[in-house]
């Protein structure tokens, strides 16, 4: 295969840069979803235990929560004794509350998190009712509007990101199309000559379309390389972003970049070559 000519190289670089930027928007969208999910799943469900509950009741409750579907996978319920809670409160208030000589008004609590599938008002209410009925449980609390507020904000953020991604994809399409148009402008007479010597439109278009596929794949791979490189760098600088936490959406993102590069480049080449074929010889000047 001959080395790509300068205008081919220019198309590949332009295409790769636009796809890279598009990849960043995609990465941002996925990351925003991931962080929203993390935030939602950080909601603590607090189970207050009755004064005087037995050790056996507490162990049974914690075991029940650990094995339940509504417990966030991979997490274990936490236990905070009333004494530990009082000390923590004292630390917050910067006073030793034991010195007051009052009875500790707090209760022992068990806390746990639920996965995103259960973070709905109905599901949470059902979980609370279920736990409430267990022996030794005084009450179940969680911040009710926390879930709705985050879900609402996530929905709004999702719309904004979707619009932004759509707008960006449109701009990317136009930029790529313009680059292809400019690169094929020099070939317009060649295309017309090929038509005049008896070549069909399909025969003339074919090499351009194959070239478009090749360019799309190379540019897509370069863009993916850029996005992965940036992810590694960000992961070093800001490890809390956890950029490789969800491999499946990332695989979709990389596949999407490759597919989009291929598709936009292919369609642009098809449209431009057809346009030159449709033009009359005199209109090419």
């Amino acid at each position: 295969m001959p080395a790509p000519r300068p205008n081919q190289l220019y198309v590949i670089i332009s295409l790769a840069l636009v796809l890279f930027l598009l990849g960043l928007v995609g990465l941002w969208t996925f990351q925003a979803n991931y962080l929203t999910k993390q935030l939602q799943e950080s909601l603590d469900i607090i189970v207050e235990l009755e004064e005087g509950h037995t050790e056996a009741q507490r162990t049974e409750l914690i075991t029940g929560i650990t094995t339940a579907d509504f417990n966030k996978p991979g997490s274990r319920p936490g236990f905070i004794s009333k004494q530990a809670a009082l000390e923590a409160m004292g630390d917050d208030l910067q006073r030793d509350l034991n010195d007051l000589g009052l009875n500790n008004p707090l209760l022992d609590v068990v806390t746990f998190n639920v996965p995103i599938a259960y973070l709905q008002t109905d599901s949470l209410a059902a979980i609370a009712a279920n736990l409430q009925a267990k022996p030794g449980v005084a009450s179940v609390f969680y911040q009710e509007n926390f879930v709705d507020r985050i879900a609402d904000n996530a929905r709004r953020m999702g719309y904004v990101l979707l619009c932004l991604a759509g707008l960006f994809a449109l701009v990317a399409g136009l930029l790529i199309h313009n680059t292809v148009r400019l690169s094929l402008y020099a070939n317009r007479f060649t295309i017309k000559t090929q038509e005049l010597v008896g070549a069909s439109w399909g025969f003339i278009s074919r090499p351009y379309l194959w070239k478009a596929v090749g360019q799309g794949i190379i540019a897509g791979l370069l863009a993916i390389g850029g996005v992965v490189g940036l992810q590694f760098w960000l992961q070093t600088v800001l490890p809390e972003l956890n950029l490789f936490a969800e491999p499946l959406p990332l695989a979709y993102l990389y596949g999407g970049i490759l597919l989009l590069g291929l598709l936009i480049n292919f369609v642009s080449h098809y449209v431009v070559v057809r346009r030159y074929l449709r033009l009359r010889l005199d209109d090419l000047y």
Binding site: T190, V197, S200
Partner: protein
């Protein structure tokens, strides 16, 4: 009367919204050589473009190499053009490939496959135009006369029924112009190809006797050679 290669009756030749030539009647027999003369802008190129379907024919009737131009749609145009050889003033070679690749492109585009004598055909036409030794040259390394010979070789590949030459000597010196004209007549005779040779240079008509068709004042005048 033999079946004509070109048969135009009451045809109006249009360029955009404008009538360039009106009520054209023209008949060219197989193997016939015809000069098409007229001043620059007299409508010669528009007439030729109509014959190879680069301009649509909207009134009158026209048959070229068995194709009715009024009924020839976009899909049929490549088939019509495979029956024609077209040569232009500015050669219109594919400058990004060698002489042999220019010729090979036409063969592949017109359905020749490897092993069906395509390479032999390239050798044959290059020999006919005297360019066997320039087979692997790039077009920009050839002189104007040589480029025009490559254009003829390309036009002759499929032994066309009609060779259309549009001001092909416009960029060549007088001596080379006459050589090219002689070459066209020779190839036309050898292959039974009709030739329609358009020029504004009346001096070329002295090269050899042939029928002259003249474009003037929006009309086409037929004359016997």
């Amino acid at each position: 009367m033999t079946q004509a290669i070109v048969e135009l009756r009451a045809a109006n030749i249009r360029q955009g919204d404008r009538n360039v030539l009106e009520n054209v009647d023209l008949r060219i027999a197989p193997g016939e050589f015809v000069y098409l003369v007229g001043k620059t802008g007299s409508g010669k190129s528009s007439l030729l473009k109509t014959l190879y379907a680069a301009l649509p024919l909207t009134s009158g009737s026209a048959t070229v190499a068995g194709f009715d131009l009024r009924k020839t749609n976009r899909r049929k145009i490549p088939k019509l053009r495979r029956q024609l050889g077209i040569v232009f003033q500015d050669f219109n070679l594919l400058m990004d490939r060698t002489v042999e690749d220019n010729l090979r492109f036409v063969l592949e585009a017109t359905g020749w496959e490897k092993g069906t004598g395509a390479e032999e055909r390239i050798d044959q036409v290059l020999e006919e135009v005297g360019l066997t030794d320039r087979r692997r040259s790039m077009p920009h390394t050839l002189s104007g006369g040589e480029q025009q010979r490559v254009a003829f070789a390309r036009a002759m590949l499929n032994a066309p029924a009609l060779l259309i030459a549009d001001e092909v000597t416009g960029n060549l010196d007088p001596e080379t112009s006459k050589d090219i004209l002689e070459l066209m007549r020779k190839l036309g005779r050898e292959h039974g190809t009709a030739v329609l040779f358009a020029t504004h240079d009346y001096r070329l008509l002295d090269t050899f006797q042939a029928r002259v068709v003249r474009c003037e004042g929006g009309k086409v005048f037929n004359a016997e050679g």
